[in-house]
C-alpha cells in the first residue's frame, strides 16, 4: 500500500514504471556493446587479413571495421531505442519487427550492394574476412564478404598445404561472433530472412494463414539442417575431387550448387552489366531458390529451419552473451510466445522457472518479447543487462486496421 511507508511507494513506482532489472541503463549498454563491436571487428579483421598476408592502410582498416560496427550499432540501438520509446509512448507505433526490417534493409543496402553489381567501396579486402554470414558468393565480382561455407570447402580441399591454418581463423572469428551475439545475425541482418519476412507480410496482408507445422515436422526440419551442413561440407568436398564417379562431379562445391542465393547474385550482376550474359545459369540453385520462396510464403521462416549456416550457429548460440531470458513467476502461460514464434519454439512457453530460454533455433526476432503481455516476463539481455523487456502496454492492438462495415449493427443501445 502506498502511504504506509516510503519503501513500498518506491516499489510501486518501480513496478508501474515497468523498468526491467537492468533499469534505465539500456542505452548505455547499447553504446558499450557498440564499442565492443568496433574493437572486435577491428581486431578480428586485422588478425584475419594479417594471417592471409593482405596489406592495408590504417585508414582503410578503420573505414571498413567502422562501417561494420556502424551497422551493428544501428541494429543494437534499434533494440535499445525501441525499449525506450515504448516505455514513453504506450501506443507504440514502432514495433521491434519494423526495426528489424529497417536493419536488414540497411545491411542489404550498404554491405550487400556489391551483390547487385555496385563496385567495392574500398580497395582492401579486410571486410571480406569478417565471416559474417552474408549475401556473399564466390561468383560475385565485387564480393562484400567471404562465404564461410565456400571457405570451409576450399580449406578442406587445399588446406593441407597451409596446415589448415586458414580454416581455423575464419571459424574462430565466426564463433567469437556467435559467442558475442548468438544468432542475432539471422533476424536482424540476413538478406534471406528479409525475403522471408517480406513474403510473410504479403501473405498476412492477403489474409492467408500460414501452414501450421505439426511438432514432428518442426523436429524433422530441425534435424535436417544438421544433415545438410554435413552433406555440403564433406559432400561438397567430395563433389569436386575424384572420390566420386564422374556423373556426380561438379565444377563447384555442392554448397554453391544448391545455394539459393547464387542465382540472385548472378542475375543481378548480369543486369548490372558486371557479369557476362554467357555465364551459365545455375539451374540447381535456382530451383532451390524458387522452392525456398514458395515454401517461405506458406511456412514461416522456412529457410531458417533448414539453413546449414544456422546449424553452425545453433551449436553455440544458446550460450551466447546476448540471450533471451524468462521470468517464470510473471508468466501467465497464455501461449502467445509459442504462437507468434515464426520458428515454432515451444520451449519458452513451457519453461517454468526463471532461466535462459534462448533455443538453438531462436533467430532473435524478439517477436515473443514484443507480443508478451506481461511486464518484465521476457527480456533480451546482454551480459546480464536488460536491453529490452516485455511491457504490459505491449498489448498494442492489432497490426491491421479493420475495414468495412461493422458486423453488429449499431442498434438498440440507448443511453
Amino acid at each position: 500500500m502506498t502511504g504506509k511507508n516510503g519503501k513500498t511507494a518506491k516499489e510501486n513506482k518501480a513496478s508501474k514504471g515497468l523498468a526491467g532489472p537492468g533499469g534505465p541503463t539500456a542505452t548505455g549498454w547499447a553504446v558499450l556493446m557498440a564499442l565492443f563491436a568496433i574493437i572486435a571487428m577491428f581486431g578480428l579483421g586485422l588478425l584475419s587479413s594479417g594471417m592471409r598476408g593482405v596489406r592495408m592502410g590504417i585508414f582503410d582498416t578503420l573505414l571498413e571495421s567502422g562501417l561494420g560496427a556502424f551497422m551493428l550499432v544501428l541494429a543494437i540501438a534499434g533494440v535499445a531505442l525501441y525499449g525506450r520509446r515504448s516505455r514513453e509512448d504506450p501506443s507504440r507505433k514502432i514495433t521491434v519487427s519494423n526495426w528489424r526490417v529497417v536493419s536488414m534493409l540497411l545491411w542489404l543496402g550498404i554491405v550487400n550492394m556489391m551483390a547487385f553489381g555496385v563496385p567495392h567501396f574500398s580497395t582492401t579486402a579486410i571486410g571480406r574476412y569478417w565471416f559474417w554470414p552474408n549475401l556473399s558468393s564466390r561468383f560475385l565480382v565485387y564480393d562484400p564478404t567471404t562465404c564461410i561455407q565456400y571457405e570451409m570447402n576450399l580449406e578442406i580441399l587445399n588446406g593441407a598445404q597451409s596446415y589448415y591454418v586458414t580454416i581455423w581463423v575464419p571459424l574462430l572469428i565466426f564463433y567469437v561472433m556467435i559467442f558475442l551475439l548468438g544468432r542475432f545475425w539471422c533476424g536482424w541482418l540476413c538478406p534471406i530472412y528479409l525475403l522471408q519476412d517480406g513474403l510473410g507480410r504479403i501473405r498476412s496482408a492477403l489474409k492467408v494463414s500460414y501452414l501450421d507445422l505439426p511438432p514432428k515436422a518442426v523436429m524433422v526440419l530441425d534435424r535436417l539442417k544438421y544433415v545438410l551442413l554435413f552433406l555440403i561440407t564433406f559432400g561438397g568436398v567430395a563433389s569436386v575431387t575424384n572420390l566420386l564417379p564422374k556423373f556426380f562431379r561438379a565444377q563447384t562445391p555442392l554448397s554453391c550448387e544448391i545455394c539459393p542465393a547464387r542465382p540472385i547474385c548472378i542475375t543481378s550482376q548480369q543486369i548490372a552489366g558486371v557479369e557476362s550474359w554467357n555465364t551459365k545459369f545455375p539451374w540447381w540453385s535456382a530451383t532451390m531458390g524458387i522452392c525456398v520462396i514458395l515454401l517461405s510464403f506458406k511456412i514461416r521462416n522456412f529457410w531458417c529451419r533448414v539453413c546449414p549456416l544456422g546449424a553452425m550457429m545453433a551449436i553455440a548460440s544458446p550460450r551466447a552473451l546476448l540471450r533471451l531470458e524468462k521470468d517464470g513467476s510473471k508468466c501467465t502461460r497464455c501461449r502467445i510466445c509459442a504462437r507468434v514464434c515464426p520458428m515454432d519454439i515451444e520451449d519458452i512457453y513451457e519453461a517454468k522457472g526463471s532461466q535462459n530460454v534462448t533455443c538453438p533455433t531462436c533467430v532473435h526476432c524478439y517477436k515473443c518479447v514484443e507480443k508478451c503481455p506481461e511486464a518484465g516476463c521476457l527480456s533480451v539481455k546482454f551480459l546480464g543487462k536488460t536491453l529490452m523487456t516485455s511491457k504490459a502496454t505491449s498489448v498494442g492492438p492489432c497490426t491491421v486496421k479493420p475495414k468495412g462495415k461493422p458486423a453488429q449493427p449499431e442498434a438498440c443501445l440507448t443511453k
Binding site: 500500500m1 504506509k4 498476412s204 504462437r339 492492438p397 497490426t399 458486423a407 440507448t414
Partner: protein, 513 residues
C-alpha cells in the same frame, strides 16, 4: 491440423453423421429431465423468484452505496447491475430489431466470436439466492453447486431476463455440474455443449479446442445468418481489446492501495459480461480518470489501513454478494480476486500477428483456454503462480478462499492453496458456504477472528520487518501495525453485539486460521 486445412467434423457430411447437425438438434426433441408436474406452478414461482431477486439486488446496491468514498462513475455500473431495468430493456429492443442473443456459461466462451457473428453475447450464470429452490425440485442431486442450481432455476421459472431472451446457450464442460446443467437445459432451449479438454499439454488438445470453437462458429453463422469474416473478427477483437486495456488500467490503479471497494471492482468486472462492451470500456476509463484525479488528495483511499484481502475460489456472481459484503463490513477490503467472475475475465489479451481468419480464431481460442486458471485444469501451475503474483503485486495480507458447497474442484484446490500459502506465511481462511443466508453470523465471526489475526500479524511482523530492514533483508508480506478500525456502524447485516476481543498471542490465533 497438420498441413493446412482445418478439419471440421460438423461440415464433414460424407463420412457419417455430423456431430451437431444444426441449431434445431441442440434442443431435446422430447424432454428427458422434465417430468410431468414440474412446471405446474411456474407463474407463482416466477413471481416469487423475481420479487426476491429484485429485493436482493436492491439490498446489495443499498449496502454498497453506504460505503464511504465511492466514485461517482459507479452510478453507471449500478444502473447496469439493476438487471431487470435499463439493460434488460436494451436487450429486449435488440431482440425486437431482429438481433440474436447468445447466452454463455463460464469464462471459456469467446465473446469476440459471438460478437463477430453479429449476435449479442451475455453471460447468464446466476447469483439469485431464490432461484435455487425451483431447481431443487428437478434435480436428483441435492449436493450440487448452488450456482448451477440457481442458473437452472432461473431458466425453469424464467426469472432472469437475459436467460429468457437467449436464442442459444453455449456451455463448456469444465466440471460435472456444468456438463449436466447443459444437458438438462437442452430440454428448455438449444444448448451447444463445447468439449473442453482439462489438461493443457499437447498439440492434440490445442486442435480439439480450436475445432470446438470452429463448431461454435458454424452454429453462430447458422443462427445469425452472418458469415464470420477476418474483418468482423478483427473488429470485435479490437473492441474487446479496448475493454481489456481499460481493465488493465483499473487494475494498475488498484495496486496503489485501497482506492476502491472490492465489491465495486467486482461489480465493474462482472458487468462486462452483460453490458455493451464498448460502452463498458468507456465507463471503466471514466472511473479510472476519476480515481486518478483523486491521487494525492485526502479522499484518495477509501480506508487506508484495512487489511487487504485476496478473494479466491468458487465464482461469486452478482447479486450473490454475501461473502464480499461480509468481508468489507467486518473491516477488511477485497484488494484483488481470483474468481472466474472477477479478474479472470480479463486475464490476458488476444494477440495475433497474423490477419487471416483462422489465425485470429486461434488467437482468440488460445486466450480463453491457455491462461485460464480454472480449478478444472490439472496440473494447475498457472493458478498457483497467479495467486502468488497477486499477493506480491497487490500487497495482500490475507487470502479468503470461498468454496460453494458442491464445487468439488475448488474445494479440492483449497488444500493445495492452503499448503502453498502457509509455506509462504500467508494467512488463509477457507469458507464453505451456500446461497442462503443462514450462516451469515457464523461466517462473520470467523472473518472477524481472521482479521484479528492479521492485525496481530502486522504487529508481530512490523517489528520483525524493521529488524530485517536494518539488516537489509526483505520480509515478504510485511505490514505496519495499525489499529483495527472497520466502519462497524455501517453494518447492514443484522449485527450482534460485538465484544472487544483483547489481542491474543500470535501462536494462539494462528491456530484459528
Amino acid at each position: 491440423m497438420p498441413f493446412g486445412k482445418k478439419e471440421d467434423p460438423a461440415r464433414d457430411k460424407v463420412q457419417g453423421a455430423p456431430r451437431h447437425a444444426g441449431i434445431a438438434d441442440l434442443k431435446a426433441k422430447t424432454p428427458r429431465y422434465i417430468t410431468p408436474g414440474i412446471g405446474d406452478n411456474v407463474e407463482f414461482q416466477r413471481e416469487r423468484t423475481v420479487e426476491a431477486s429484485k429485493k436482493q439486488i436492491h439490498q446489495e446496491l443499498e449496502r454498497m452505496r453506504k460505503m464511504p468514498g465511492r466514485p461517482k462513475a459507479m452510478e453507471y455500473f449500478e444502473k447496469v447491475a439493476e438487471f431487470f431495468t435499463a439493460r434488460a430493456e436494451e436487450v429486449k429492443l435488440w431482440k425486437q430489431q431482429g438481433g440474436k442473443v447468445v447466452g454463455t456459461l463460464c469464462v471459456f466462451i469467446p465473446h469476440e466470436i459471438i460478437d463477430a457473428a453479429g449476435a449479442l453475447p451475455l453471460r447468464v450464470g446466476s447469483g439469485f439466492h431464490e432461484a435455487v429452490h425451483p431447481a431443487n425440485e428437478l434435480l436428483a442431486d441435492a449436493g450440487l453447486c448452488p450456482m448451477v442450481k440457481a442458473t437452472l432455476g432461473c431458466k425453469m421459472v424464467e426469472a432472469s431476463p437475459y436467460f429468457s431472451m437467449s436464442d442459444m446457450i453455449v456451455s463448456p464442460t469444465p466440471c460435472d455440474a456444468k456438463m449436466k446443467l447443459a444437458e438438462i437445459l437442452q430440454d428448455y432451449m438449444p444448448v451447444l455443449i463445447i468439449n473442453m479438454p482439462r489438461v493443457k499439454s499437447g498439440s492434440a488438445v490445442r486442435r480439439l479446442w480450436t475445432d470446438e470453437i470452429h463448431i461454435l462458429m458454424d452454429r453462430l453463422e447458422e443462427l445469425t445468418g452472418n458469415r464470420i469474416t477476418a474483418q468482423s473478427m478483427r473488429k470485435s477483437i479490437d473492441k474487446y481489446h479496448k475493454a481489456h486495456l481499460a481493465w488493465r488500467r483499473f487494475m494498475e490503479l488498484r495496486k496503489r492501495g485501497n482506492i476502491i471497494w472490492g465489491r465495486d471492482a467486482l461489480l465493474v468486472g462482472q458487468m462486462s459480461d452483460i453490458d455493451n462492451i464498448e460502452r463498458w470500456a468507456q465507463n471503466v476509463q471514466k472511473l479510472c480518470d476519476e480515481l486518478e484525479a483523486r491521487a494525492g488528495k485526502p479522499e484518495e483511499f477509501v480506508d487506508k489501513d484495512r487489511p487487504r484481502i485476496l478473494l479466491g475460489g468458487s465464482p461469486i456472481v452478482w447479486p450473490n454478494w454475501k461473502i464480499p459484503t461480509l468481508i468489507e463490513e467486518t473491516g477488511g477490503i477485497i484488494a484483488a480476486d481470483e474468481l472466474c467472475s472477477g479478474m479472470r475475465i480479463f486475464r490476458d489479451p488476444v494477440i495475433s500477428d497474423e490477419s487471416s481468419l483462422d489465425s485470429l480464431v486461434e488467437a482468440v481460442s488460445d486466450k480463453y483456454f491457455y491462461p485460464c486458471t480454472c480449478p478444472s485444469f490439472s496440473p494447475n501451475l498457472e493458478r498457483e503462480d497467479n495467486i502468488l503474483n497477486m499477493i506480491k503485486e497487490y500487497e495482500i495480507e490475507g487470502v479468503i478462499y470461498h468454496v460453494l458447497r458442491g464445487c468439488h474442484l475448488n474445494a479440492l484446490d483449497s488444500t493445495k492453496v492452503d499448503v502453498l500459502l502457509k509455506a509462504k506465511k500467508m494467512a488463509v481462511l477457507k469458507i464453505e458456504t451456500e446461497y442462503d443466508e443462514g450462516d451469515v453470523e457464523q461466517i462473520r465471526t470467523r472473518i472477524e477472528a481472521f482479521f484479528e489475526m492479521i492485525f496481530v500479524k502486522r504487529e508481530f511482523e512490523g517489528k520483525e520487518g524493521k529488524a530485517a530492514e536494518a539488516t537489509g533483508e526483505k520480509v515478504w508480506g510485511t505490514a505496519t501495525p495499525v489499529e483495527s478500525k472497520g466502519s462497524m456502524e455501517d453494518q447492514s447485516y443484522k449485527a450482534e453485539d460485538r465484544v472487544e476481543t483483547g489481542v491474543t498471542g500470535p501462536g494462539e490465533v494462528k491456530k484459528e486460521g
